[in-house]
Amino acid sequence: MLYSDQVLDHFSNPRNVGEIEDADGIGEVGNAKCGDIMKMYIKVSNGIIEDVKFKTFGCGAAVATSSMATEIIKGKPIDDALKLTNKAVVDALGGLPAVKLHCSVLAEQAIKSALSDYYTRQGIDPIPIVGEIGECEHCH
């Protein structure tokens, strides 16, 4: 597996690993059978993602995409986070091997899932804002 230096860097020194105890939104995607689970915690204040943490069970690319995705959205307005695409994560990592692209999709979905949970907790229907979070094509 040919990983870029950025992927290896984010794998060996992942940013934002952990949990947020009083998180405003928690999202989890993937499943153990397929070998990838990502769990994201966000803390929101005044429409800004103040803090974000993740825990990931998965391959090197899964860890690196989780780490990079959290880096991209940390400190940014929710609107920016909603626009985050898997491609942006892949580009920021200097590319991913083709068989690993699904990991970046999972990272995008993990963030959307945390945002959905945030809106639900606010009593707001998340679907018009975040959209449906599809199942990972790789897994199903």
């Binding site: 060996s12 992942p14 689970i37 391959c59 090197g60």
Partner: protein, 396 residues
């Protein structure tokens, strides 16, 4: 501190040993003749080739005329199975018996033959990773062309009851092939005594170079043509022989079979230390029978983590190993070997294979048993799956 580098993936490939390399070198620049040429340079190449055949035959109790050179273990497997099946299909024999956890060189060959109308019985390997000879006996039919069961499994290292299976096949008059790529040079083999009809050998697993292998075929079993062209390999496999590689293979076979029991004992001691120490980590299991296994191969499932990240992190800590996780295979499913043992997908994803060799030192083992628990802890700390496992445990 000097950066550690410990190679613990000898079941994948090995370094060419100095003695093997020295054996090969003259055949590149001095004795470079074509073994088919008539002049002295060619004749001496031919002589070297035939001597190598004899030397290799001797290490496994065969005759020189029963050894065919190939380019790899996979080629040997393909050639053996297809050759027998092609010939016996004409006599109405279109049934193959194999096991569920063969190397893909065997499994994919069987699957290709299924598409050509063969019926294949895939025998179970049970939770200890060992085929039952009794199952082979029960599976043999009037139309069985070949039984092909590996000598030792490449991922978990379990040794199969080859003697018993060979005995049954001989009694029933069915050809028995064994993929012995992982076993050669690690366990004593005597093909005639053991009644083995065909056996595949690979060079690069025993400190010869990549790109050379051999197939033993018992006298009296005809082989079909693999490569049309020259008269090499008794007209069955055309193409100028790779003499340096073949000389290296001969040397490697001799070295690997010298003091084999003594060396295996030393390696097995190191292997058992790896097993005992790594199993101290909670939620781990040894895959395959603890005793009936190759001296150098260990396979352990570690719950809550995924194999590829385990390998990457071990690499950062100077240890080269391998795994049966889906992510390392490039496919969606984890290793067919681990699934054949009945492991759940999520457990199979977290498997670790360590395969050591003669060159492994006790200090290497010290380092591995220190690093593995550290890396596992680090990965488990960031794993939501591990979090769930612990929660379930606490609620019990």
């Amino acid at each position: 501190m000097e950066k550690k580098f410990i190679y613990a993936d000898n079941a994948a490939t090995t370094a060419v040993s100095k003695a093997v390399l020295e054996e090969m070198i003259p055949y590149f620049t001095e004795e470079y003749g074509n073994a088919s040429s008539i002049y002295a340079l060619g004749r001496s190449a031919k002589k070297a080739l035939e001597t190598a055949r004899e030397r290799i035959a001797k290490t496994i109790g065969a005759e020189a005329s029963e050894i065919y050179f190939t380019s790899c273990g996979s080629e040997s497997d393909n050639w053996a199975i297809r050759s027998v099946c092609e010939r016996l299909a004409k006599k109405g024999k279109k049934h193959i018996i194999t096991s569920a956890f063969e190397h893909h060189a065997v499994l994919h060959t069987c699957q290709a033959l299924e598409k050509q109308g063969f019926e294949v019985t895939y025998l179970p390997v049970y939770d200890n990773g060992i085929v039952k000879a009794e199952d082979v006996k029960n599976a043999i039919r009037e139309d069985t062309a070949i039984v092909t069961i590996m000598y030792a499994n490449n991922e978990i290292g379990t040794i199969q009851p080859v003697d018993e299976i060979a005995e049954i096949c001989r009694e029933k008059g069915v050809i028995f092939h064994t993929d012995a790529v992982q076993a050669v040079g690690h366990v004593e083999i005597d093909v005639h005594k053991q009644k083995i009809d065909m056996l595949s050998i690979s060079g690069h697993k025993i400190h010869a170079q990549k790109g050379v292998g051999a197939l033993y075929v018992r006298k009296g079993i005809p082989l079909t043509n693999l490569i049309y062209g020259g008269a090499q390999e008794r007209n069955r496999r055309g193409g100028t022989e790779n003499i340096p590689a073949i000389m290296g293979l001969a040397k490697a076979m001799e070295i690997a079979n010298t003091d084999i029991l003594k060396r295996a004992e030393k390696t097995a001691r190191q292997r058992d230390r790896l097993i005992n120490e790594i199993l101290k980590i909670s939620h781990t299991r040894l895959n395959g029978d603890p005793v009936k296994r190759l001296p150098g191969t260990v396979n352990i499932s570690i719950e809550g983590i995924e194999g590829e990240s385990l390998l990457l992190m071990l690499d950062l800590n100077g240890v080269c190993a391998s795994s049966g996780s889906a992510c390392t295979s490039g496919s969606l499913d984890p290793s067919h070997v681990l699934l054949a043992l009945g492991l759940k997908h999520e457990v199979a994803h977290g498997s670790l294979r360590l395969s050591i060799s003669d060159e492994t030192t006790d200090e290497d083992i010290d380092h591995i048993v220190k690093v593995v628990p550290e890396v596992v802890e680090r990965l488990r700390n960031m794993s939501p799956l591990w979090e769930k496992i612990i929660k379930e445990d606490n609620s019990k």
